[in-house]
Symmetry: C2
Subunit: 593 residues, 2 copies
Amino acid sequence: MPVYNAPIKDTQFILHDVLKISESDIPGYSDLEAEFTGAVLEEAGKVATNVLHPLNVVGDTEGCRLENGVVYTPTGFKDAFEQMKEGGWTGLDMPEEYGGQNMPYVLGTAVGEMFSGANQAFVMYQGLTHGAASAILAHGTDEQKDKYLPNMVSCEWTGTMNLTEPHCGTDLGLMRTKADPQGDGSYKISGQKIFISSGDHDMADNIIHLVLAKIPGGPDGIKGVSLFIVPKFLVKEDGSLGERNGVSVGNIEEKMGIHGNSTCVMNYDEATGWLLGEEHKGMRAMFTMMNEARLGVGMQGLSQAEAAYQNAVEYAKDRLQGRDVTGVKNPDGPADPLIVHPDIRRNLMDQKSFTEGARAFILWGASMIDKAHRSGDKDADGLISLLTPVIKGFLTDQGYDMTVQAQQVYGGHGYIEEWGMSQYTRDARIAMIYEGANGVQALDLVGRKLAQDGGKHVMAFFDMVKTFSKENAGQDEAYDKAFIEPLKVASKDLQAAGMYFMQEGMKNPNNALSGSYDFMHMFGHVCLGLMWAQMAKAAQQALDGDASDKDFYETKINTGRFYMARRLPATGMHLARIQTGADTVMALDAASF
Amino acid sequence: MPVYNAPIKDTQFILHDVLKISESDIPGYSDLEAEFTGAVLEEAGKVATNVLHPLNVVGDTEGCRLENGVVYTPTGFKDAFEQMKEGGWTGLDMPEEYGGQNMPYVLGTAVGEMFSGANQAFVMYQGLTHGAASAILAHGTDEQKDKYLPNMVSCEWTGTMNLTEPHCGTDLGLMRTKADPQGDGSYKISGQKIFISSGDHDMADNIIHLVLAKIPGGPDGIKGVSLFIVPKFLVKEDGSLGERNGVSVGNIEEKMGIHGNSTCVMNYDEATGWLLGEEHKGMRAMFTMMNEARLGVGMQGLSQAEAAYQNAVEYAKDRLQGRDVTGVKNPDGPADPLIVHPDIRRNLMDQKSFTEGARAFILWGASMIDKAHRSGDKDADGLISLLTPVIKGFLTDQGYDMTVQAQQVYGGHGYIEEWGMSQYTRDARIAMIYEGANGVQALDLVGRKLAQDGGKHVMAFFDMVKTFSKENAGQDEAYDKAFIEPLKVASKDLQAAGMYFMQEGMKNPNNALSGSYDFMHMFGHVCLGLMWAQMAKAAQQALDGDASDKDFYETKINTGRFYMARRLPATGMHLARIQTGADTVMALDAASF
């Protein structure tokens, strides 16, 4: 049985020592003092460890089942969902007027990591609801908000997002689901949607489906797509539930992982729906939530890596196998623990330096979303738009790799289901795919975000790195050597890649797009390098001050040194690949594959 | 339903254009002319595609079941096993005197890739038998050989290898299973073994377990381990089956993949066994088969990557999604096929250039094993010993990554089980673990093989690369630039890493061991770089000659150019990591993780 402990201390360090959130002038941040966030995280951690985590393996083993059109979630899910609702966790960062607690997104994200690390499949029921509620909040009429939001914020009703169809995923312009206007403001929605997470289940009284569909006669392709609210049960004027709508579950998909979440084929058969936002502006309505949703998926990459890491460390300390080549460490035992071996260390340090760096990156990103939303800061909005595909693509790729590495620490025991390590890998795999497959994230980054607003945001990013380096260099030789210098090298690699794209992409866009995946990864490394440089600085300040827990801060600096020395050099490889352009990538005829 | 096509043309190219096997003076090789091997591969390909492949998903879905102590394999496995036996495939490279066909190992390996690519879990029943039979062949008495080998070569009886126990995997010195001598040449074996592939099943009349155990009173640790033959049913003097031995299945493990293979907990309760080889020399007996067994696992890394790749290509050609940014390619369709997109190309080229390079590497390795065994060539034996951990560790890591990339081409369809892509990933995962987890391979490479025989073999490898570069440079500028130059750079990186280990490892062995995993990977890249340089040369020679299929050879050269340009630069990153030594890897106390 795996363990899960909420990373409260690490989270607090990032929120307060690094981001210093309570000193920020973002509305709502001044309330987020260390004592307060500590109390919230402590409570969330208890829910994660005691309520959600014990159901993680149960969800994987039992899965969801469809019987006579009704979806049943695994044993214990319903009770746990009730506890989440009762604790008020579902509306933590939702507006007070709809029953939420109006906390900033940065705190919701910190809590979300813990819930997701404890049980990703379970938390998705709430996560999709949060996404759907955010869409209604951003694009709904007052009437729609009043009708749906209170019950969605409390998770009495849950939500879904219906985009994919059997023949179209990324290219939603090919969509066939149609919405016929009925003249009374309502539409009849017909079509099939697939891969609908939390599509149906037995934990809520109603499910509010947000469905992309085309109104006949509208523009071709993606420009003719609109977004609709399609409740499972129609909601009467008085807010009570009326008749069952024309939406049903066709099937539950058999998946590699996240078995505890019901991934459904949803059939819409003249289901009644109402337009959310404007006609034919469905994609725009979806896109306003994209940064949040993608950051949430990037967070899953972190959360699964963190959970897997915790278990790998435990196993590496417990399992006795072989002897330390530099001298026996456990003379009273038959062998030394795995953790004495350098390659096990290398493996664990890869994981540790990733998860802590990723957590800083995500919380920084979440604070940018707050800045954009709560302060209306356009620069923050631009920067988080740029970084969103990096957070999503890089963190889910690397997070997955880390779950594979954690599994590897267990040897054969990592491959059998008994120890739970296979599940982390299988669950983490989906995050590389949904909410835009990572290749699409790379395309978004290089094909769209780099040049957005005249390249202003990427220049701002480089300036930020440069300013940080300048302001913090020259005070401590060891810090400069371990952090500032590698950060400069990596950032220069990234700039060189950007320059290559500008120059060679002009001649042939494929020269840029062939390197998009490498670019996404090198960008991610530079961001984690920046995070580590900031964390090391904060840790050193704490050490220079009156920090009582010196071990914690010294470990933080040493973990950062590992990242800078061992992980960051990847940027050079990515740059070398990128600079070979499209030549070898595009050389073959399709028939020659 | 996934597809599988045997890569006959690619295999023939390697065997004849690159390795030129029929011109070799290794005994038995002169028979291996292109027409002959082509016919064998053609037949093997039919078995793979028509008999084994259709059962791959069946095996995954049904798994094996244990009922009243009896293990049942999935539907169709028994029939398919009969067909393998009838076709004589089980004894292809086994000696004629025991009913085999005495073909060289290189041909057995080429055929093995096809069978394994079609159905890894199934082929393991035969693979383990092959391994056990090889051990008896190498270490058994004439009586033992006569008693067991004919039925094992024909797979009337299958075999298993019993090493792991619950508390010990890599560190077999901790073993508890004991073997009490009975004074009549037999022993009573008692203990529990876990993770026993093909441990029991319903496809053979008898199962010959090879079991590592300790004879009481022998040396401590690994030096007191002996190897025993423990048949499921005792074999009478006349060769007929006698009473059931004291060995039983405790459980079938639930695993991430290879569900079609019965991975058993085996309980030995005073089971009768006979010593194989010498007392307390059990590990030596195991090690003589290690190169073959590990090459076989490396081959699984290739085979799953190849199978996954074939399907990813098919999907990328069929699935219409988005438009080529440089101009519409499929104007009559609603969208262009995925394969027009540069990042999909990058992904597919990664896979293609890996599988073709890996195949050359493995077949070259297999020919070295033939040279060592059939010609008694000590240098070949030394070189393949050096390269074995690279073949096993690098090819299974990369092979796994490639199945993940193939899955990614499918987007959401890669995550649901319906399309079969998840299975390739789940099946491929085990190869990184069994037959020595890849971290142990890296340790074997750096801690043992590099310095073996005074470093003679690694020097021979570098000489080989240097000689090849020298002999083939200066004739064709494009070839030099695309192949010779990158190969030189990568080889220089590898040498620099080896030099670092020598110098810094003297001071502290952890400086070398902290970089062992990176070294294994950079070594693998250099080997694949060498393979590609050789393949490109052979392809160019064919083009310069009268090759009719120009596309095939041009594609070969272009695929090689991709590998050299896009994959080989990884060596620089690995070197940079290695040169940071043990400092950051070993900085933390165990308690600080």
